[in-house]
Symmetry: C4
Subunit: 269 residues, 4 copies
Amino acid sequence: MTEEQRKKLHEIIYEADTPAGKLFDIILLSLILISIIAIMLESIASVQLKYGFILAEIEWIITAFFTLEYIARIIAVREPRHYIFSFYGIIDLLATIPKYIGLLFPGFGFLLAIRAIRLLRVFRILKLIKFVGAGNNLAIALKKSRAKIFVFLFTVMVLSIILGTLMYMIEGPENGFTSIPKSVYWTIVTLTTVGFGDITPHTPLGQLLSVVIMVLGYGIIAVPTGIVTSELANQNKDVHLNTQSCPNCGASNHKDNAEFCYNCGTRLH
Amino acid sequence: MTEEQRKKLHEIIYEADTPAGKLFDIILLSLILISIIAIMLESIASVQLKYGFILAEIEWIITAFFTLEYIARIIAVREPRHYIFSFYGIIDLLATIPKYIGLLFPGFGFLLAIRAIRLLRVFRILKLIKFVGAGNNLAIALKKSRAKIFVFLFTVMVLSIILGTLMYMIEGPENGFTSIPKSVYWTIVTLTTVGFGDITPHTPLGQLLSVVIMVLGYGIIAVPTGIVTSELANQNKDVHLNTQSCPNCGASNHKDNAEFCYNCGTRLH
Amino acid sequence: MTEEQRKKLHEIIYEADTPAGKLFDIILLSLILISIIAIMLESIASVQLKYGFILAEIEWIITAFFTLEYIARIIAVREPRHYIFSFYGIIDLLATIPKYIGLLFPGFGFLLAIRAIRLLRVFRILKLIKFVGAGNNLAIALKKSRAKIFVFLFTVMVLSIILGTLMYMIEGPENGFTSIPKSVYWTIVTLTTVGFGDITPHTPLGQLLSVVIMVLGYGIIAVPTGIVTSELANQNKDVHLNTQSCPNCGASNHKDNAEFCYNCGTRLH
Amino acid sequence: MTEEQRKKLHEIIYEADTPAGKLFDIILLSLILISIIAIMLESIASVQLKYGFILAEIEWIITAFFTLEYIARIIAVREPRHYIFSFYGIIDLLATIPKYIGLLFPGFGFLLAIRAIRLLRVFRILKLIKFVGAGNNLAIALKKSRAKIFVFLFTVMVLSIILGTLMYMIEGPENGFTSIPKSVYWTIVTLTTVGFGDITPHTPLGQLLSVVIMVLGYGIIAVPTGIVTSELANQNKDVHLNTQSCPNCGASNHKDNAEFCYNCGTRLH
């Protein structure tokens, strides 16, 4: 394969600016979607009975395409290692392999659901700065608040173990709290305000403690929200004021589109 | 119909400043409300048995009024196309037609619930700048955070498909997770902390993964909240910019303590 | 009753600065608490059987005290009308009367739960500026965002009616959605992420629409949160900077405890 | 024990800077984790039957280690009282004693779950300023908003009692609302959007009031979130104050663009 051919292939597979590249990406996304729907339909017993054979065939065809695509992606770059060990490279591999493993060990086939992650490529195709920027902003906000979120989750976990054990001691196996792990599970179901209702407290004391857990959960949901919100609000603030300071009076916090200092009227650049 | 009559009609139907216009709007809203209540009552088997005939009559009378109103609205404007294809124009049509379609295809009659959207006209009648402003602020905040919310929802969807498939593999049909689509449904029920409890995990591993899903859902609720809040907070901040505009270049949105125009350097007072 | 006696009575009943006044308030709150607990216990069948007589007696004694207190409150002020038609005056009356009405019409006795509102007096006794300030801040934030919250609730209501009707058409009476009002009830249960699970969708289409409702509910919870948060954040901002401006250079936004201008060093007062 | 030995012991037990100290802390945390897992497993009937003896032995060994550690901690400090009555000192004691009490009064053994609190020591070992800072920020935000949260919780409690009593009067024992306390429990389950579904309203009026409670709960979750968020956002803002302190009076927290001390008027640089 000549260098030029590789360049052409790279343009089609990795970029979405040329018509060919765009077409490739749209076909790829469509196949991912079809494949996910096929896997889902296959898991419904009645559909499987009737259309199982066709669905299996569709999946094999798509898997074949994905395999070829994976090989093409490796060929199209100069340093294949970069692609293979990148986030998308690993996902692409994990989206193809389970089908082959499924031949030997049936039951693993459903791991193909990993293909859903490939859908995230949609953001690349949309190529809208806005969406990428939005994603980045969210990612940055979550990354910055990582430490706070970790402290929060760890404390919630410790709290859940203690409250769960208390509920186990109060309610006991006769009311559905058959073990401490199950009680902890119930506590988290309640604390997160999910409330399945598969297990519920029956003793007055248990209901009292439940009320405390619920109000607690209702209250501490404020914490992750507060963390993320204040981080995002901070970003917004930073964006709107620029960092230059007036060469004459030194006033800072100028508006982004300011031409003159708001304090002394000197031209800013 | 003379131009003057049309003007008069327009005033009554489209405006709410004259007593006649106000009266028209109040009658309209009352009829919408009565009609919605009638549709609701009709769907209750025991009420339908007893008062079905009266309710049907009420609905026909109101539908007749709505039909006349729709025609009047078309007559009262110079360019009917503008009204017909406007948001309210389409809603007004959709609020009338199902009754007639219901004559031919029974069962479509309940589409009349679309009439509820007409209730949003209430904001126009209240004509309180405050409410309109509040609605606009909310709409702007939601519009500005559209990209972030789209990224968020898409990621949640991908996550739900993967986690749902995992739950299907762990719990299996014998525990109520009869298919992948049903498992994904359950995952979203859990992730959004709704927690119906119609399907619940029974295996220890399934309960462990459920806990992860719940804590995840409890945590990521912070994201849309953070997005909307920071957007709304940002709006509030803009209020703190002062209202003067530059006497020279007309630029507005000056900082509260600005002495000189940030655009042309002219002294502001 | 002399003017001096009235003054003394006013001091005891309405104020909490003197030892006698404090004692009165603490006794009052204790009686309210005891009375609420008695009403609660009375409603438990097994307790009622065993201790019903004693509980009834306790309630009568407390009601007698409340009656005397109500009369005393009227006597102790110069313009009784002001007290009688104030918020607390009406609550005080409503907390006493149901017991007497209950003599004639049994079953109304439980309206005594209104007594719980009297517990809000606790904030007056604590007399901690902090708590009153906190309450005021919350009240102001809620009041300021009233218009936004009204628009939000109205839109949610319209949405619930439409989605509920759709669910009724999709699921139908055979799946528990026996009427439109019940479907609307279910929609709100789902939209608010409460999710009782007494009614659940059984058809694939119904589950799909449920997923949309849940994600919607999960998302729009962001709106009231955003409204209140941005309002509270705004307050915080306002509190921290005072409104004075420098007599020399006119710089504003001084810190609350600033003695000198941060811009030119002139003394501020 | 010589002073030097005590110093060495202190270094190992209380500090995590030396290799020995780090090793000690890691062993300690591992033992806490193992012990919690053992207590959890012991509560599962089937596991208890099979491995009960081994689990009991593991717990006794760990308890012995904890006892020695507690004694060592007392020996290693000069003023044992400081440690014994500190937060961690009390937790350490409570994490050891229940095992011994369990010998006399079986059933108390599960109080060992208190050991989970000891896991919070993990933050000390991580010794990452970031985590401690994050924890502190959260703690400060929660502490500052204490008064607001108290007012909020108290109001919610009063509201729940009144709404719960109303639901009891509307639905009555025949629909599962067997007593006022149980109705209040249900109200809180609904208000916090947990929604177990063990009790659900069956009368139309009850369902209407439920809808009000749900929308209320959906709305007032905004309040704690708003409180914590605005507090955290405020902290972020404080970061924007600069770090210099006045060379004359030492006042700090100057505004970013301050030229003169706001306290004494001295030029800042």
